[in-house]
């Protein structure tokens, strides 16, 4: 064996152990995060705080899934909210009309989302940049209009009324607030873990290549259309899960869940938290919901305050909060290294 061969033979187990380590580290962080969230109801009696976390779970999954498109693949979707709405309505309707067990209703909703996302994505991902953005918006408006006009099925502008049945399963009763809270946290943590796995997989790097230079990616043998469609559908599944959590939380589904403003909020959350770090959208979600809850309590001019915050991040920082923090930390470390 030559020296080079020996060196290469040593490299293979090292890479395998590195990638195993990074996966275990993520699982460990997820478990700790879930444990912290799970003991929260024991530490506080605040129903508002638990509600806040449930909303964070719904919007966090939605915003992080949008970042798989925007930040990782360079596909700015103005219509991602349609899958949030689809999840809420799909799950709500299935539970109201079929009486399925909750897990079956959950899976069936994801199957429906997959089919619709694949059909819409097959058309949209052929388009680039602004055309992609506006065609996704057009599909969102189509779904929103369908919800409004198909009154016999969706309840029209009144939404799905009468509550969503939630028969207990495996000892979990989602009518119980704490059970709903724990389930939402579990879905959030599992969802984030799965999205993290996507981002760190070879497919995640394929997406980065497409974002950077799609033409070049096709000249190294990547089927760009297929990769974009795959991530479009995967992102839709996580957004749909967010919608399901929201439907369970409010025990209904409303046309606003599928309106373009939901997609706008998703984009805003990504701008706020940052798109270059995996947890940026999650941080953005927490910030936006805090802003939302506090500002609306203090003033009726919520839009003005939000506009100022957007301007601060877009013009002042020119990046999201997590992007700023990570860059600042990297600069600081480099500075320390130089001095050392």
């Amino acid at each position: 064996m030559t020296e080079l061969q020996a060196e290469q033979a040593a490299v293979v187990p090292r890479i395998e152990s590195q990638s195993q380590r990074s996966r275990y580290r993520d699982v460990l962080i997820a478990l700790v995060a879930f444990a912290v969230l799970a003991i929260l109801p024991m530490l506080t009696g605040s129903k508002a705080l638990l509600d806040f976390v449930i909303r964070c779970s719904a919007f966090g999954l939605f915003a992080t899934s949008l970042n798989l498109l925007v930040g990782f693949t360079g596909m700015v979707s103005f219509g991602h909210g349609m899958f949030f709405g689809l999840g809420a309505y799909g799950f709500g309707l299935l539970m109201q009309r079929t009486g399925l067990p909750v897990p079956v209703g959950f899976v069936a909703t994801l199957v429906i989302t997959t089919l619709i996302a694949a059909a819409i994505g097959a058309i949209c991902v052929r388009l680039k940049e602004i055309y992609f953005a506006f065609v996704t918006l057009a599909f969102q408006m189509l779904i929103h209009s369908t919800i409004l006009s198909w009154v016999s099925l969706t309840g029209g502008d009144q939404g799905l009324r009468g509550g969503i049945p939630r028969p207990a399963f495996l000892g979990i009763d989602l009518s119980n607030h704490v059970h709903l809270y724990i389930t939402s946290c579990a879905l959030l943590v599992i969802g984030l873990l799965l999205m993290r796995q996507i981002a760190q997989s070879p497919f995640g790097y394929t997406l980065r290549m497409i974002r950077d230079n799609a033409t070049r990616a096709s000249f190294i043998g990547i089927d760009v259309w297929r990769a974009k469609l795959t991530i479009f559908v995967l992102a839709a599944l996580f957004a749909s899960t967010g919608g399901i959590i929201m439907a369970l939380f409010v025990s209904g589904a409303y046309p606003e869940f599928a309106y373009w403003t939901i997609s706008g909020e998703g984009i805003f959350i990504n701008m706020l938290g940052g798109v270059t770090t995996f947890l940026g959208p999650m941080v953005g979600t927490v910030l936006l919901l805090i802003l939302n809850d506090t500002v609306t309590r203090l003033t009726e001019y919520y839009g003005i305050v939000l506009g100022i915050v957007i301007l601060f991040f877009a013009i002042g920082l020119r990046k999201g909060l997590m992007d700023f923090v990570v860059e600042w930390y990297a600069r600081r470390r480099a500075g320390t290294g130089e001095r050392g």
Binding site: I15, P202, Y205, N213, F219, I220
Partner: protein
């Protein structure tokens, strides 16, 4: 063997490639030259699937590539580097190489494992060593010098183990010294990798020094093919480059 048969492509009324027939033998090194607008890059775009030919065949070992998509053509073994370095700015050199090998191994869609895959390492390492980029493996592509970006672009094509490597002006935008370093590297790759290399080049010193075979294109047609000596003395080539009023007594 790469065989081009009656290849044609028009844009409106302009014939960018006009009934071109050429053979590139296995392991050959050929320079494609021609004045600006001669159709050199269009010729490469047709071979690599960036453009669909109006007529003709592109046969790689007997299989017609005409009309196939770029990913398909790459899998058949035609790699390409671009005139303006076409890279992935946010990825490091190492990530770029590993991701390219993943794509070649049909593992670009793997979701259940983490990047990088151990089985992709050797080829990526080999390509970085070959192009002298191993020492810059942790640099993001955007921060590399122009010359290194061009090398990375070539490495991206080379790491896919192509049978035919097309280099569109590998020395474009480089200073004199860097230019010669690059062309020495191209020649070294050709000699060590035993692949068919076709390159477009404007610098005649380089062309005549390293290319055993030269193809001259003009207005989409083949003006001449042959050895450097034959091309140097070809009246039609001199006329195409310098115009009729200048060519008496002038050598390219």
């Amino acid at each position: 063997m790469l065989e081009i048969r009656s290849l044609s492509k028009s844009f409106g009324g302009v014939k960018a490639t006009d009934n071109v027939t050429l053979d590139f033998a296995d392991g050959s090194l050929t320079a494609v030259i021609g004045p600006n607008g001669a159709g050199k890059s269009t010729f490469f775009n047709l071979i690599t699937g960036a453009l669909r030919p109006d007529a003709g065949q592109i046969l790689l070992n007997g299989v017609d590539m005409a009309g196939r998509s770029p990913p398909e053509i790459v899998r058949y073994g035609i790699g390409r580097a671009f005139q303006v370095a076409s890279i992935f700015p946010s990825l490091t050199v190492e990530e770029t190489m590993l991701a390219a090998v993943c794509a070649d191994q049909r593992r670009a869609s793997v979701l259940h494992r983490r990047f990088p895959l151990a089985e992709t390492r050797d080829r990526a390492e080999h390509a970085m060593e070959l192009l002298g980029l191993a020492g810059k493996r942790n640099r993001t592509a955007a921060t590399l010098s122009h010359g290194d970006q061009k090398l990375l672009d070539i490495a991206l094509a080379l790491v896919l183990d192509p049978k035919v490597l097309l280099l569109d002006e590998p020395t474009a935008g480089m200073g004199t010294e860097e230019r010669w370093r690059m062309i020495d590297k191209v020649k070294e790759l050709w000699e060590t990798q035993k692949i068919t290399v076709v390159f477009i080049e404007h610098d005649m010193d380089i062309v005549f020094k390293i290319a055993p075979e030269i193809v001259v294109l003009c207005y989409g047609r083949i003006l001449a093919t042959g050895t450097p000596d034959a091309i140097r003395g070809n009246e039609a080539v001199i006329e195409a480059y310098l115009g009729t009023e200048h060519h008496a007594g002038v050598a390219i």
